[in-house]
């Protein structure tokens, strides 16, 4: 999986603590929004590549 331009985003609703809620990234050439769900296969792969040092995630605006 090729992950590029990864950046956290924050949902504007139901997010009282203004936490990160997803990672916006270009995955295999397509822009995607990956929830921070430990059962989501894409998030698991992003974490794996972050741990491997091949992907970094930019902080949210």
């Amino acid at each position: 999986m090729i992950i590029e331009n990864a950046k956290y985003v924050k949902a504007p609703l139901d997010n009282p603590d203004n936490k990160n809620t997803a990672v916006k990234a270009t995955i295999n050439g397509t822009e995607m929004f990956v929830p921070l769900d430990l059962d989501n296969a894409d998030f698991i792969e992003i974490q794996r590549q972050v741990d491997a040092g091949t992907v970094t995630i930019e902080e949210a605006d």
Binding site: M1, A11, P12, I27, T30, F33, D42
Partner: protein, 334 residues
């Protein structure tokens, strides 16, 4: 044997019991594979392999260098009683060496295999059956492995005639060892070896402990032959040591099962006029396995938010220029 030829005198009084019929028989909804007839193709009907890409729903195809990319299509060339097959065509032939690979797989959710009882003393045999057609002949490999990839069983099936539909069955003996999750993550992978490198090959015929075992020793590797073709349909995995006829199901039932893992909302989601965030809501027609990854075919820089496994909303991004999202896709694949 035709049912009309069964005589009472030929069956012992205790030969047919309720327990055998209800508990050991496959009465319906028996197939652990989803979309085995290759009918549902929500992402499209053709494409080119990557490291791991979905073809028809639930079946993913992957390759790694030095194996070259394959193409795939939902083909209307199918055996009797089937409408579609999944056809894979090798690219330029190349040996996989040690770490190259080419493999087709379906990951099966743990909750759907709990009754197989793998990893316990109550484990049951399972049987894989499928129709296959290939431009090559010889011994080919298939493989089942657990989520961790540290427990696997490889089998061999033989293609006798080139370019001819053949029906194959493989029985996988009960595994009382290993760890086989029964939650909403992967229970096991069913894989077809199209070109695994030697590092991934294991010998057929026994449960094996190791790592990354999805190839089968001594088998034909499709991707070594330029433009070689391999097709499959009628895929079924069921409990027991006998392959029973493929369980055809209505397209709505198959589509609903597929949508637990991937769904496209084929309509337009407009922002409302009642929110400064430019919100628009959506709900999936089928609840997802996990909170899904979102993408859209047309997205004027709106941000997509999967609120739950049931739905979510879209809202304005920093470069927002439009007012609608089309072709919203949610993926919660295994």
């Amino acid at each position: 044997m035709a049912l009309s030829t069964i005589k009472t005198a030929s069956i012992a009084n205790d030969a047919v019991t309720t327990d055998k019929i209800v508990n050991d028989g496959n009465l319906g909804n028996k197939n652990l594979i989803i979309n085995g007839a290759m009918q549902v193709a929500q992402r499209g009907t053709s494409g080119t392999s990557t490291a791991d890409i979905y073809t028809v729903d639930r079946f993913s195809l992957g390759h790694g260098s030095p194996v070259n990319a394959m193409t795939f299509e939902q083909s209307t060339d199918a055996p009797a009683n089937f409408k579609y097959s999944l056809k894979i065509t090798a690219g330029t032939g190349a040996s996989a060496g040690t770490t190259g690979y080419a493999s087709l797989r379906q990951a099966i959710e743990g909750q759907n295999i709990a009754h197989v009882n793998f990893g316990t003393s109550a484990a049951k045999d399972i049987t894989l059956s499928f129709w296959v057609k290939c431009s090559l002949t010889g011994n080919f490999g298939t493989n089942i492995r657990n989520q961790a990839g540290n427990r696997a069983y490889a089998s061999i099936y033989t293609i006798n005639s080139a370019n001819t539909w053949e029906y194959k069955t493989v029985t996988i003996p009960a595994d009382t060892g290993g760890t086989w999750p029964t939650d909403s993550n992967i229970g096991f992978h069913m894989q077809w070896d199209l070109g695994a490198g030697s590092n991934y090959d294991i010998a057929a015929g026994s449960w094996t402990d190791g790592t990354n075992m999805f190839g089968v020793e001594g088998t034909v590797k499709l991707t070594e032959t330029t433009n070689a073709t391999w097709q499959m349909t009628g895929v079924q995995v069921e409990i027991g040591d006998v392959a029973t006829p493929f369980e055809h199901e209505d397209i709505g039932a198959t589509l609903r099962k597929c949508k637990r893992y991937y769904e496209m909302i084929d309509t337009t989601i407009f922002q409302t006029n009642y929110s400064s965030n430019g919100l628009g809501n959506f709900a999936w027609t089928e609840q997802k396995r996990a909170t899904p990854t979102l993408s859209a075919d047309t997205n004027p820089d709106m941000t997509l938010h999967a609120e739950t496994t049931s739905g979510g909303y879209v809202y304005k991004g920093s470069g927002f220029t439009g007012n609608a999202v089309r072709g919203l896709r949610g993926a919660s694949e295994l």
